[in-house]
């Protein structure tokens, strides 16, 4: 077998080939900064730590691992997050 990396097991840095589970997403959460009141409830509820906090206290969504579960949109009191189909992919 021709090995693709030098690691003994699934622990390493470069070339570890981390799978982006964001590729599994069917619906993409979109955050409207105008409506967002920076309460952070989405940040607390996201099961895969895909909501990130900026230094100014505002939030953004990191799509690498976001599977599009929609919990953030469900929990948002201001309805600042909407789920939009990933049309370009499907």
């Amino acid at each position: 077998m021709k090995f693709r990396n030098d690691y003994a097991g699934p622990i390493g840095v470069e070339g570890i080939h981390v799978l982006n589970t964001g590729d599994w997403r069917i619906n993409r959460p979109l955050l409207d900064d105008e409506t967002c009141m920076k309460c952070g409830i989405c940040f607390l509820y996201c099961p895969v730590n895909s909501i990130r906090r900026r230094e100014d206290g505002s939030y953004f969504i990191c799509y690498d691992y976001c599977k599009g579960c929609g919990i953030c949109a469900h929990e948002c009191k201001k309805k600042a997050i909407t789920m939009v189909p990933e049309e370009e992919k499907y």
Partner: protein, 394 residues
């Protein structure tokens, strides 16, 4: 100078582990392993062992803690048995596939049901394909020596796999024997210092640990894991030899061959029942029967070539198991040995023997009977297989 002492098998495991100076120990007590935890706690409390000792709430936690500590670059030790091993199975499999060189004693005990606390090798044998290396001791001296050697084998750069040092519950764990204890400084020189490189949780150089991995890369890791198991075959022989040169005790490497060189009828055993087998071989030899014994020490990696070579001249073979292989109508090692002999060229009578379950004795007379059955089978008589060594029938 080695100190002569008298101790049970659990103490031998604890002393062996302490001599290798693990930095983190986490264990949960379970019969018949409980004293290992007590002794190690005692060593730590009384300053004989400088380790972080964690008395956890379950075996699941014990294996998780030593896994985390191993990821952080520590030498680690733990011990369990039977249901405790079953409870830690999830992190147990992960520890080997993450290539963590943990050393864990398994004080072999029967698996439940029925409810039992006594000896049997079903616990460790049932998890032989979880990626760990497994070695089985025959007596208390060997438990101590193997526990020290296990760290060297586990941490070898060609191996980097966890090791189970297995020994029979009660027959060894609670039996008191004479044991020689090597000097601490000499053991320190022998085992060296563990330095985690392939895996290291280091804030300066963050690593991705166990990310979601695709199938092709998973197959690559499995391939590397299998190759590391094969590499261990050489390493364990070299470590056993070097230990012999330094401390005067060597055990033959992956298998111990006892009077088997010119033997026609070869018994195969694993663990403490080998003592009775050796006595039976001697008694049969005195009667003029060319009997011999092959004791399997390392079950993982399985020493296929050594076994084939040792059995090449046999006219009959009998494997005495202290476990069962459900679905094969035999013991577990019986099937492993059969597998090792495929395409050997000639088929000789092969007896699967099951005994010593649930703490029952496997006596010298039972072993003599098995040798007698091999002689009759080699002469062309039909034979019973599997043969159950029921104490009431002997």
């Amino acid at each position: 100078m080695q100190i002569v002492d008298v101790m049970n098998g659990n103490m031998a495991a604890a002393v062996g582990a302490a001599l290798a100076k693990p930095e983190v120990v986490a264990a949960y007590p379970i019969t018949p392993q409980t004293p290992v935890v007590e002794y190690l706690t005692d060593f730590v409390v009384n300053g004989k062992l400088d380790a972080a000792m964690s008395e956890v709430e379950s075996e699941l936690s014990a294996m998780s803690i030593v896994s985390g500590a191993s990821l952080a670059g520590c030498r680690t030790f733990t011990a369990t048995a039977s249901q405790g091993l079953a409870l830690m199975y999830e992190p147990y499999f992960r520890a080997s596939t993450l290539r963590l060189p943990i050393v864990m004693a398994i004080v072999n005990r029967e698996m439940i049901s029925p409810q039992s606390v006594w000896g049997g090798q079903q616990d460790a044998m049932s998890v032989r394909d979880a990626g760990w290396l497994q070695v089985y001791a025959e007596d208390n001296q060997e438990i101590l020596d193997l526990t020290i050697q296990a760290f060297r084998v586990a941490e070898d750069k060609r191996v980097l796999l966890p090791v189970n040092v297995c020994f029979d519950g009660f027959y060894l764990s609670h039996m008191t024997e004479r044991v020689l204890i090597p000097e601490e400084d000499e053991v320190t020189k022998f085992v060296g210092k563990y330095k985690g490189e392939h895996i290291l949780l280091d804030p300066e150089r963050p690593m991705a640990v166990d990310p979601l991995t695709n199938g092709e890369l998973l197959m690559e890791y499995r391939c590397k894991h299998l190759l590391a198991q094969q590499a261990a075959l050489e390493v364990l022989e070299a470590v056993d030899k070097e230990y012999g040169e330094r401390f005067g005790r060597s055990y033959g490497g992956a298998v111990e061959e006892y009077r088997s060189d010119d033997a026609d009828y070869i018994l195969i055993t694993c663990g403490s029942i080998s003592g009775a087998a050796k006595d039976a071989v001697d008694l049969k030899r005195a009667e003029g029967v060319k009997a011999g014994l092959v004791r399997i020490r390392w079950v993982r990696p399985f020493p296929q070539q050594r076994i084939r070579k040792a059995l090449a001249g046999a006219k009959a073979i009998a494997v005495v198991d202290k476990s069962v292989s459900f679905g094969w109508n035999s013991g577990i090692l019986s099937q492993e040995v059969r597998g090792a002999l495929y395409d050997q060229g000639k088929a000789v009578p092969f007896l699967s023997v099951i005994g010593g379950l649930g703490g029952e004795d496997v006596s010298v007379s039972m072993m003599q009977d098995v040798i007698g059955r091999m002689v009759r089978a080699a002469a062309g008589e039909s034979f019973e297989s599997p043969l159950w060594l029921m104490p009431s029938e002997y």
